[in-house]
Subunit: 417 residues, 2 copies
């Protein structure tokens, strides 16, 4: 049962388990799931189970899951058709010396669904495919430099991570950065480093942490393509975050982007571990020259999940439903913000929305807002965009907006009284 | 039914499927499973299902699986207890915003099983943890250089891959190499680059491709430790290949190695995708400073598999059985080699054996040998070490040695008549 007006959630079991974790794991919980990235002490640290659009933490608290495992869960947790496909494959085995027929079927599926895709290649992590893509760009062009947007997340590898630990300057020397939407900077970099830039890697829209998401300005992508064509730079689209949530043919179709290579991961198998890159035939030879291997990459289990997930996305209204529910959430929050005299922005595509308070330099407002929403059974991340899944319901949005009505008032009392 | 004296295996379905694969996937099948790495045209390209110590290809041919998915399958395919644990967890969900209790339990298990381990950290690929380990060594020491053995495989990342495609010279500049067992080279490198070497990464024994495996010479590891202590170099043990196949406490216990960090993957979850690194407390702070994240890394599903696999390895005679069966295989092959007047070497630990013909510069002998063994239902890799699993039986070894008796004669007829 979701909490409505009862006592605030307690996280006792989470905190106890974290004490054990901290003894045997660096940071206790590391990476993007580090509790310090959410709200330390006032949100769950460990999950127990999940079903559809909800999850339960180890203290038994239930939440509407607006983070969806940071994206992978697109049809809802434990989707029966996906899990049946997974179980059928697992009964035949999950780890082989050779790929299975499903790998060929999945590559055929992707190349038929995605208009620009002549081929597909599979791995496990998003980082596996983004790093591989820049290596393909380097192999194809014989050039070293890569352009990326400031604040963009392309994985945890040394070339792109924002954190300095264990990174050599040499690993960053060939990485140039531009501000999102600043086509002038790209023009300037292209002129200064003419003949030296192998690839430009961008997300289909800007989804940084801590700040509002930003869509491309009119004409941005046409200009990007024009520069890439003129300078023989590969345009690599990192569509890992949005994946097939906006369009089963890829986010580039929504925004009119014409990439040379696209990286996908996250939601393509409804939570089962797989990533992929697709590309044009002209890059096939370069793709073949870059050695790419991982022990578990050809497991047919996540491939079975991916085939089923993509079929469902293609043949149901899941994507338009996520858009509709996200739009309801966006409009509802904006309306409530006005009622409480807050200027708030709900940015990004409605299926991957993120709310910020316009005047919130220390992030206290969004942190208190999310802390109180979480304590009312609505899991909203204060510093990272949210995710709608197809298992969310109008009742979930209703509950969320009712809770938000209380919570805007609490934020006001706590910070602006 | 395993083939004994019937017609040779046909690979028609494999070959047809490969034609489809080649249209939509670079190289059709890439990485270590590329058919060119085995025996193109004369071995299966695609697997269908597996059970225990056997697998079936898409043409319905049955094989004794002496490759075990290149290592991960240690208890046998579809091990009931492991798969039950996996299914129980999958019913609760597989992809969350937070880790589950199983992550803490697995870290506690590893740190209690492995004497030197004060902490553990989890990822998906072997490459994830080897690359992370060298970053930790760099962070801890403030130094850049890493020493590795020539011909060692530590993953597909740019710093360690043997293939030049898409690799910048900058990414190799800080990698120094030594020949396995050449302590003099290590001494020389330590003297030349004094104060600049962050880490030395080695496997517990040398398992290159194409050539015989090599065990450390007497005193090698003591000398390695002495040099690392004197020069403040971190000793990183890449135990990914052998993993817990030789000792549930880690291969370092077998060989008297005293590593600072150890990387494991492959067999720790009987084929489910997970890798781990463990280390000493003195490196915890450096470990915390190196950002490490992947979308699917905290999935409790492979952690459930790992906990069950490790428990079984601890409480049954699985490890000694693999050693016993591998020893029977080794002795039997050596005996047969003698009968046919071949000088052969079965190298490496018996549970991960590899056979080479001593006089086989073009590798024709081992290729013909494996081609004929594969065609008789014994999947042996001509260029990569083999793996025994706990589901193999004495009947499997009997069949293998009977087949080898035929096959040595065929090799003789075909190449040395």
């Amino acid at each position: 049962m979701l909490q409505k007006n009862g006592d605030p959630y307690l996280y006792e079991t989470s905190l106890k388990l974290f004490t054990r974790a901290a003894a045997v794991i660096p940071e206790g919980i590391y990476g993007h799931q580090n509790p310090a990235f959410v709200i330390p002490g006032a949100s769950p640290y460990f999950a127990d189970y999940a079903e559809g659009g909800h999850f339960w933490d180890v203290d038994g608290n239930e939440y509407i899951d607006f983070l969806c495992g940071y994206g992978p869960v697109i049809l809802g947790h434990n989707h029966p058709e996906v899990e049946n496909a997974v179980n059928r494959q697992m009964a035949k085995g999950s780890c082989f010396n050779h790929p299975g027929k499903l790998m060929v079927m999945l590559a055929e599926k992707l190349t038929s669904m995605i208009a620009m895709a002549d081929w597909a290649i599979f791995a496990k992590n998003g980082s596996d495919v983004t790093t591989w893509a820049i290596r393909v760009a380097r192999e194809y062009t014989g050039r070293k430099k890569i352009v990326m947007a400031k604040g963009a997340y392309h994985g945890a590898h040394s070339w792109c991570t924002a954190y300095p630990g264990g990174v050599l300057p040499e690993e960053k020397n060939n990485i140039l950065t531009m501000n999102w939407n600043q086509i002038d900077t790209l023009e300037r970099l292209a002129a200064i480093h003419r003949g030296k830039i192998a690839g430009l890697i961008l997300t289909p829209y800007h989804h940084p942490t801590y700040t509002a998401q930003e869509m491309a300005a009119n004409g941005f992508w046409e200009k990007v393509r024009e520069i890439c064509d003129r300078e023989n730079i590969l345009l690599i689209l990192d569509d890992i975050r949005a994946c097939f949530r906006l369009d089963v043919h890829g986010s580039h179709e929504v925004f009119g982007i014409k990439p040379d290579l696209i990286c996908f991961a996250k939601a393509m198998a409804n939570g089962h571990p797989i990533s992929t890159a697709v590309g044009l035939n002209k890059y096939r030879e370069a793709a073949e020259a870059v050695f790419f291997a991982g022990t578990f990459w050809f497991s047919p289990v996540p491939m079975a999940a991916a085939l089923t997930t993509l079929n469902i996305l293609e043949t149901t209204d899941a994507i338009s439903e996520m858009n509709r529910l996200g739009t309801r959430l966006k409009n509802g929050l904006e309306e409530l913000g006005k009622q409480y005299d807050y200027r708030i922005t709900v940015s990004g595509p409605p299926a991957l929305p993120y709310m910020t308070f316009d005047d919130d330099p220390d992030l206290y407002h969004i942190q208190v807002f999310c802390r109180e929403m979480i304590s009312r059974g609505v899991f909203l991340h204060p510093h990272h965009n949210w995710f709608i899944c197809a298992a969310h319901t109008d009742a979930d949005i209703d509950h969320t907006l009712e809770a938000a009505d209380d919570v805007f008032r609490i934020v006001q009392q706590e910070l602006d009284a």
